[in-house]
């Protein structure tokens, strides 16, 4: 390509790096990110099931890991990712019917995904800890 000298700085079309991110865009990216997290998080589920089926010693190893602060953090993150991805998925299923595309509705659905996922995660952990005693 020939080297050309740009005469004046022209405004560029909106671009991901200079855009003020609307919440719908943030939640769209979060939907992908949580999906990726859950993808690799299935390794934790597989480990849990294999450990349980292998015997008390492998299961004790799993329990040890899940009780470390990093294990709990991973489990907490996994819970949030699952809630966010689930609510985001429901949002997409609503959109699939052609509903929820009006300006206010889009933002409301995206905001509800975020708020709902945080609330549900806290509720689940409260249930897990208060009624079940948490991971031991």
């Amino acid at each position: 390509m020939a080297e050309t000298k740009a005469p004046v700085e022209r405004p560029l079309s909106p671009h991901i790096l200079i855009y003020r991110w609307p919440i719908t865009m943030m939640m769209s990216i979060a939907h992908r990110a949580t999906g990726m997290g859950l993808y690799f998080g299935t390794l934790l589920l597989a480990w849990w099931l294999i450990a349980a089926s292998s015997g008390p010693k492998p299961y004790a190893d799993f329990q040890w890991f899940i009780n470390t602060w990093i294990g709990k953090l991973v489990l907490f993150g996994y819970t949030w990712a699952l809630m966010h991805h689930m609510l985001g998925g429901i949002r997409h299923l609503i959109w699939d019917t052609g509903r929820g595309f009006e300006p206010g509705e889009r933002e409301w659905l995206a905001g509800a995904t975020l708020v709902g996922s945080i609330v549900l995660t806290i509720i689940l952990w409260l249930i897990g800890f208060v009624f079940m005693g948490g991971p031991r």
Binding site: G35, Y39, T42, A46, I66, G89, P135
Partner: protein, 126 residues
């Protein structure tokens, strides 16, 4: 010059009738995953604090095992499609894309089969 008609030359080359298969499967598994994930969460929350013996007993009971098997299978299918969409969106080098799409299928089958094996072993106690 070919004597074949243009229609005969292109027949069977496109994505006719199967082009939306992944889209449709993604929706089926998404809908299935809503109740299955809720059941899975309830099971995990109930079991994480229990002893190994209790966990083995409960995971081996039919209703719990069947719910978890459905969850594992539906999730595996769902995430194979999801990861493939991401790969196809961001990886444009044909060889790398092919390798990653393949690796994705290997990963999903391995994780899905591992979990299924463990659940069946817990149920049948071999």
């Amino acid at each position: 010059m070919s004597m074949r008609t243009p229609l005969a030359r292109v027949r069977g080359l496109g994505t006719a009738k199967t082009g939306t298969e992944d889209f449709w499967r993604q929706r089926i598994t998404a809908v299935a995953n809503i109740p299955l994930a809720i059941a899975g969460i309830v099971i995990v929350i109930t079991l994480l604090g229990r002893s190994h013996a209790a966990v083995v007993q409960i995971l081996g009971s039919p209703v719990v095992a069947i719910f978890l098997l459905l969850f594992v299978l539906s999730t595996a299918w769902h995430m194979r499609i999801g990861m493939q969409v991401v790969i196809e969106d961001y990886v444009h080098d044909e060889r790398r894309k092919l390798a990653l799409v393949m690796a994705n299928i290997f990963f999903v089958v391995a994780v899905g089969l591992t979990s299924t094996y463990a659940l069946l072993k817990l149920s049948f106690g071999v």
